[in-house]
């Protein structure tokens, strides 16, 4: 029987494997994947003055997965001549994280834009998919005022934006299915998603079917986006740590399987 391995040694090794490249980056190559490039190209191809609905429903727990991608994509949008409607639908933590983490990171981009004319923030709107359906149908009925309490009718940007038909693109955080159901299928508005890395395989069929026009899945994809917009940030800094941690997990899986095989061969369970 193979001796039982104390998992705490594995945790210690993991701390070292993840921590070391954060202290001293290795500069491992970072090829750009197709879904990330697709979103970048989509934003690049937007005509001047296009209206983009940007959903920043980032939670504190999922910040490492969603935060860097939100910052990178927002930086890209703010560098273009497009109008942005900011909203949080996925979680109520969105506005807090937007104010404390996202806004400082994009402050230099926001300075060049005028609030209410180039972008507007509606904060957290409860109801998730029900709210999405209402917003897509009639924004002026579903969103009465922005995050500062200004009535929607007094916001210059919203004067010509009535429903999903006026949107050129929806970029959301979290799950893509509700956005496909409420924006793409009934109104034909292109939808892109910033999601967890684990969702990437499950969302590929939506990319193949053309229902998603782009995807930034996890911090690795966020690092790719940072490379594309030439603005290294949080994701780029941790990409080496992630690559090494993935390699470490792969080695553990192989070692675990060898141990299992040896145990069985010696008549153990």
């Amino acid at each position: 029987m193979v001796k039982e391995f104390d998992p705490r040694w594995m945790y210690l090794l993991l701390f070292i494997v993840v921590g070391a490249p954060l202290v001293r980056p290795l500069g491992l190559p970072l090829p750009i994947t197709a879904p990330v490039l697709a979103l970048y190209d989509k934003i690049e191809s937007l005509p001047p003055g296009s209206i983009v609905l940007f959903e920043y429903g980032v939670g504190a727990a999922s910040w490492p997965e969603h935060g860097p991608s939100n910052i990178a994509v927002l930086k890209h949008l703010l560098s273009k001549d497009v109008k942005i409607i900011l909203i949080a639908l996925y979680t109520a933590e969105g506005p807090t994280l937007f104010a404390t983490k996202i806004k400082p990171a994009i402050a230099s981009y926001l300075e060049k834009k005028t609030y209410g004319v180039d972008y507007v923030d509606f904060g957290y709107v409860t109801g998730y998919e029900t709210a999405m359906a209402a917003i897509a149908e009639d924004m002026h009925k579903a969103l009465t005022k922005d995050v500062y309490g200004t009535p929607i009718d007094q916001i210059p940007l919203m004067k010509n934006v009535k429903s999903a038909r006026d949107l050129a693109l929806v970029i959301a955080t979290g799950y893509c299915e509700p956005y496909i159901r409420q924006f793409y299928t009934p109104y034909g508005v292109p939808v892109a998603i910033m999601t967890w890395g684990m969702n990437a395989p499950g969302y590929m069929p939506y990319i193949s079917a053309g229902q998603l026009c782009g995807m930034v899945a996890g911090i690795r994809a966020a690092a790719e986006y940072e490379v594309l917009i030439k603005s290294p940030g949080e994701a780029s800094a941790s990409s080496d740590a992630l690559s090494l941690s993935h390699l470490f997990v792969a080695i553990l899986i192989v070692v675990g399987n060898i141990q299992y095989y040896l145990t069985r061969r010696r008549g153990g369970r």
């Binding site: 109520a92 998919e129 159901r181 395989p201 193949s208 911090i219 800094a237 997990v249």
Partner: protein, 230 residues
């Protein structure tokens, strides 16, 4: 140092301490982990309640005071949900639940067939001509789709006979590959969260807490070793 910088320093140290207290579970269950866990649950619940009240004020009360009196109906339905906490009147909350489930289902189902069934089937009808890699890619998609689909073909006894049994078996392997990919993705996503916290812990002012944490863990190891000897 002004007040804002001081507040940022203190909050940064508290966040780092709480993160390290949570990670102390990796050594063993301890009181520091419990304190951090309960603090997190308490803060999250408090934040949720505060936002729920804000939403009621923004979405309900402000609209009612603006003259949209029909918003009283969802407010009443919301209040009815609280009858759930009583044994005798719990049935009243079912009406609110029925409305919530009904509206939610109705809103999502209206586009579900087209978005998640019809379009996905259409996307599976793909060309087997093109470049060598395209052909291989598309063949895998078609093969995987047919096999996985036929794995769930239970209604006919012929499904258990050859060649259907072989196709169903291949479908099982396709599903296992998919689940393996999803599980791998989940593990690696957790690794991303860990890397994110590590990145935070190695930044200012969080790294001041690392020596404190190491000292606490060393003390715990020393205590455990002494106890084992005794």
């Amino acid at each position: 140092m002004d007040f804002a910088e001081f507040a940022s320093l203190v909050s940064g140290l508290i966040a780092a301490a709480l993160t390290l207290m949570i990670y102390s579970l990796l050594y063993r269950e301890n009181i520091l982990y419990r304190i951090a866990e309960h603090t997190f649950v308490g803060i999250y619940a408090g934040y949720g309640v505060a936002y729920a009240v804000k939403n009621i004020m923004d979405q309900g009360v402000s609209r009612i005071s603006a003259g949209n009196y029909w918003f009283i109906i969802p407010m009443i339905l919301g209040v009815m949900l609280f009858t759930r906490f009583t044994v005798k009147q719990a049935w009243i909350s079912r009406y609110s639940m029925a409305v919530m489930v009904g509206v939610g289902t109705g809103v999502s189902v209206r586009a579900l067939i087209e978005a998640q069934i019809v379009r996905q089937i259409k996307a599976s009808v793909i060309s087997l001509y093109g470049g060598p890699f395209t052909v291989i890619d598309n063949l895998i998609i078609v093969f995987g789709f047919i096999c996985a689909f036929l794995y769930f073909f239970f209604t006919d006894i012929s499904a258990l006979r050859r060649p259907m049994s072989y196709i169903a078996k291949a479908g099982r392997y396709v599903l296992m590959f998919t689940f393996g990919g999803a599980f791998g993705g989940t593990v690696l996503s957790r690794m991303t969260l860990f890397a994110g916290r590590m990145q935070y812990l190695l930044s200012y002012p969080a790294y001041y807490m690392i020596p404190v944490f190491v000292a606490i863990i060393c003390a715990m190891i020393y205590y455990d070793l002494r106890k084992k000897k005794e």
